[in-house]
């Protein structure tokens, strides 16, 4: 196996917590690959300070707004989120002196609410039946009505830029022989930024998006007008887009913990479920999957401990991506 890059030079003391975002580890999951000639590597975005890849996104959004003079300390910011971006933004707002209003579907895990509150964010509930799409709609309305700055992760180029400059650049440096990149699709930020950078590096690198097959209570939107495609999402930049059931995601989330010691959230289970499927169809090569977040925010769902059918049913009714 080719040796990976050595750890970077001693970094000394960071001037504040936001400076510790990024530079996450790439780890081989040797037990997971069903094909001895295919390596599956995990980029542990759970190492970021609030435990998810969204620290990169939120920092980029805030710093972009600061650089353009749109916000200054003391200001209030509003943002729609299914949790992780809100939590990341709430931490950064604490460090930088902003107030955050997070618009979030009511059916997310309690841990997400607690984390937002502990970082001082105000939570505004949106109708859970409409998922993240409902949060987007409500946040847009409130931002306009109250004249509050909304970074808007779904439409802001600073979101994919975080992954172009950070996530993908680190992958290319640490594993230049990458053949396939797999990540969850939420805003499209990770996939768009990484796709652009990876394909500039080597056009043959395949970029695969993984989406959750939501349960009926979440996907049962009443009208197409409630559908939402993030403006930053350009499907031309994706080679494949695959659905994964909550059941398959749960099973792989358990395997990650049991076989590799990786404590990840349920969407990462979906990502590595797809990684193993792709490995079966490849002759040889290297797949890099993103561990989007750690498992802490999902403990209350019983993913690792409860009956599989019960957990599946619970996830089908809630929002975990």
């Amino acid at each position: 196996m080719a040796s990976l890059s050595p750890p970077s030079a001693v970094q000394g003391v960071f001037t504040d917590l936001t400076k510790t975002i990024g530079e996450t580890s790439l780890v081989e999951l040797s037990g997971l690959s069903p094909n001895p000639d295919v390596r599956i590597l995990a980029k542990l975005e759970s190492e970021n300070p609030t435990g998810s890849i969204k620290d990169r996104t939120a920092l980029s959004l805030i710093e972009d707004a600061e650089a353009r003079g749109l916000i200054s300390p003391g200001d209030t910011i509003i943002e729609p989120t299914s949790g992780n971006t809100g939590i990341a933004m709430a931490m950064i707002c604490r460090v930088r002196g902003y107030k955050l209003q997070a618009v979030m579907p009511e059916n997310v895990t309690e841990e997400r609410r607690q984390m937002l509150r502990l970082f001082g964010a105000q939570i505004i509930d949106s109708d859970g039946e409409f998922g993240s799409n409902g949060a987007v709609k409500l946040a847009r309305t409130l931002s306009a009505e109250r004249d509050i700055f909304m970074p808007f992760q779904y439409g802001n180029p600073a979101n994919p830029r975080a992954h172009y400059d950070g996530t993908a650049a680190e992958i290319i440096r640490d594993c230049p022989d990458i053949d396939v990149f797999v990540a969850g699709l939420g805003t499209g930020g990770t996939l768009m930024g990484c796709s652009q950078r990876l394909k500039e590096f080597r056009d043959e690198i395949e970029v695969v998006a993984v989406e959750p097959l939501q349960g009926d209570p979440v996907s049962g939107l009443r009208s197409l007008e409630d559908g939402f495609v993030p403006p930053i999402l350009d499907l031309e930049r994706l080679d494949r887009k695959l659905l994964v059931t909550n059941r398959d995601s749960i099973l792989m989330t358990r395997r990650l913990a049991e076989e590799e010691g990786i404590f990840a959230g349920v969407s990462s289970g979906g990502v590595f479920h797809v990684c193993t499927r792709l490995a079966e169809t490849m002759d040889s090569g290297t797949i890099v999957g993103i561990v989007c977040d750690g498992g802490w925010k999902y403990l209350s769902t019983g993913i690792w401990t409860d009956d599989l059918d019960d957990v599946e049913d619970l996830l089908d009714r809630s929002l975990s991506w």
């Binding site: 969204k54 779904y154 097959l213 996907s219 197409l224 559908g227 939402f228 495609v229 887009k241 659905l243």
Partner: protein, 82 residues
Amino acid sequence: MLRQAVGGEREVEVPGSTVAEVLDNLYDAHPAVKAQLQSEDGELHRFVNVYLNDEDVRMLSWLDTPVSDRDRILILPAMAGG
């Protein structure tokens, strides 16, 4: 919302050898579906995702994607996360 248009069924069986043929046959059998899925210009609405088994057909050959007897087509609204 689509289920109302097909009489409350969760799954319906429709013939066709491509995604386009399957959709056309679905529209013939359940005309209300057409209004739900198509925008005014007759194209499939951009908020509609169509999957052959578990793969988005926009990344395959879109409406020309071949379909065989045992395949399952899923029609879902586009959902965001984050």
